[in-house]
Subunit: 401 residues, 2 copies
């Protein structure tokens, strides 16, 4: 039974708002010297106040022990079981640059890369060429026609681009050309099901022609494709929750994900203050405002404990001046943990707080991994947070007679 | 969605090891005088140290309230949902004595028993005849041919044996002949599905002929069969987790279970010290070492509180001299509870500790039912432990992009 079907039947419109703050990679591990995690180290008077007014807990984004990528991490937070709802990497990348996919399109994520004379990859990211160079190379490759299929190539950032195959009978069940390692040549794209044979041929033909065009453009003298996928047909947030949803995110992938779920993407700047500014400006226009803060994760990935602490503190300061309605629900959590000590996503459960006038108090007055373990929400799957937010916003009617 | 499929996609080989210690029937109930369980009563400095370095919790082997047998208890611990993955008792017994089952075989567990002149069972275990007598009687019955089926009879221990039906079209969907009580006669084997009618007839014919042959062998003058089953085709631990797994167990059933999951069975002695010796000797050869300690359960079954305490203390002493690598993960738990007060398996959740350098500390410095209730793992299904062990051993890559 999909919980979304249950929610769909009992959701109702109400005047309250849900402010859904996702600090990417929020959860951490203790610093070896202080014994305190990043969140425990940060001075967070405003988060602590929200924790005191609300209830806290720990969430498992997918399942205990499973380290989620960004897409499953976010899908869970929005109530979509990440083991059921899957998004291909190509689609995620495409939607993240506002590319409008059409029915039947197959999108891939591309990297420009460097190969040596023998054709072996020496740098999977082509020395991270700049955005201008990426755009120039994409223009060179864009619009190639192979049989009934046109290949649309658009720049993303640095060495990254998307290649979208449009027209003809396409099937995304083909393998990556990216071997995810250096010292070897790019792999041929192969069909993973008989119906995808033609798509594999087209992809290989595109790669062959593109490699000729790129020949003189060292270090970006070759390309790698991965994550062939077509647009999933997920139920929209407006349908499931009867919410008018919006998303604030500096980074494209999270905007892309939000768009797939039917959220409206709000223009914003490039820092936390701008994101809060956008939130304040559009507060009256939506009853669900998702705000994504990327830099907790970036700092964690870089192993920079102190910077992650600073990002959390900066978020907390901005939170202090946020004005919300008395019936609103504020959720603060992360899509996964990114402990600085591990320099990457991890499986550790993620602190969550939900603040609302309708919370049953749990005696927790601090927002940290330690205190969340004692919190009134207990430990629960990430998918439970949306129903709880909806409930506290009085947006769910009784289930059953 | 089977979690094993998810794990299979994201597991990777890494240099660390997982040491998986299962103290059979570990969980207990408080002694009426002291108010302390067996584990709480035992002096366990080494387990306490592991708990302090790691995280603890309580597991439900199958589901809250469900008392598991040994097979579902262990399957859950290895990540196989015991409500989905089922092993017949006959198969378990057969694999436990290194009997190599063939495709199409139907194995049963047999008891020699005592019946009176009226044919009513007076002792379901025939006074626990010795192993030599059991072997002699099995030889008497072995090799009987009924139509196209040969019945292979092999001794297990004391009154226990296996009867494996081989050849012809067999179907294991038949009822037990063992009524599991005295004062009544053995039951006729009946088909539980139409396709199993012939198998029921063959089984009854075997029982009839065997009872004639056993007539003069009081107290073992009859036999009881149960757990008709054929070999399940479970995914192997090496396939799912990419581990090289081994098992150390004094008792055959647990070796049989481990073999079904593809573990290599290591030669060992007959006490806890020998098992630890085996572990040390083979430490370098495997990256998953399952050690099964039976005597916590035996003591619990006997209602011997003090002996169960002693077994736990003996385990703890041996644990103290175990040397492991810095990246290793040690798990200590049980397959179910066997409180001495109940003299049998029970449904109470089982203490678990997982020690690794990548644990998020939970402030617990003791291994007991009481402290595990406050532990960082919370209360979770047994099937979650393997993914968590894999994660802490850095043997799982990210799920999804």
């Amino acid at each position: 039974m999909d919980m979304l079907d249950v929610i769909k039947d009992i959701s109702q419109v109400s005047p309250s708002r849900i402010i859904y703050c996702v600090l990417d990679g929020l959860g951490g591990l203790p610093h070896p010297e202080s014994g305190q995690t990043e969140l425990e180290t940060a001075r967070t008077p405003n988060l602590n106040r929200l924790a005191e007014q609300g209830i806290s807990g720990l969430i498992d984004p997918v399942c205990p022990g499973i380290t989620p990528g960004s897409a499953p991490g976010h899908l869970g937070l929005f109530g979509y079981d990440p083991l059921k709802y899957k998004i291909g990497r190509g689609v995620l990348e495409a939607t993240g640059i506002d590319f409008e996919m059409q029915r039947g399109d197959v999108a891939t994520r591309g990297n420009f890369c460097t190969v040596d004379d023998a054709g072996n990859i020496t740098d999977r990211r082509a020395g991270r060429i700049d955005n201008a160079k990426c755009a120039e190379l994409c223009q060179l490759l864009d619009g190639m026609v192979i049989g009934k299929t046109t290949v649309i190539v658009c720049p993303v950032k640095e060495h990254r681009f998307i290649a979208v195959f449009r027209g003809g009978k396409l099937d995304p069940a083909v393998s990556d050309s990216d071997p995810q390692q250096t010292g070897v040549p790019a792999k041929a794209v192969t069909a993973l099901s008989p119906a995808a044979a033609a798509t594999a041929t087209i992809a290989n033909e595109f790669i062959a022609q593109a490699s000729v065009k790129l020949r003189g453009h060292h270090p970006a003298n070759m390309l790698l494709l991965r994550g062939f996928s077509c647009c999933p047909d997920f139920p929209k947030i407006s349908e499931v929750y009867r919410l008018k949803p919006s998303a604030i995110s500096v980074y494209p992938m999270y905007r892309g994900l939000a768009r797939l779920l039917g959220m409206e993407i709000l223009e914003t700047g490039t820092d936390i203050a701008s994101e809060f500014g956008t939130l304040e400006r559009h507060y009256a226009d939506y009853d669900f405002l998702f705000m994504h803060i990327k830099w907790t994760d970036s700092a964690g990935e870089d192993g920079d404990f102190e910077r992650k602490v600073s990002v959390i503190e900066e978020f907390d300061r901005n939170l202090g001046s946020l004005t919300t309605g008395e019936d609103d629900v504020i959720v603060v959590t992360g899509d996964h943990s990114t402990p600085a000590r591990l320099k990457g996503h991890s499986w550790h459960p993620v602190p969550v707080l939900l603040s609302s006038r309708w919370c049953r108090p749990d005696g927790i007055a601090e927002f940290s991994e330690r205190s969340c373990r004692q919190g009134g929400l207990g430990r629960l799957p990430a998918t439970r947070i949306m129903p709880l937010a909806m409930a506290h916003a009085l947006k769910l009617v009784k289930y059953g007679a």
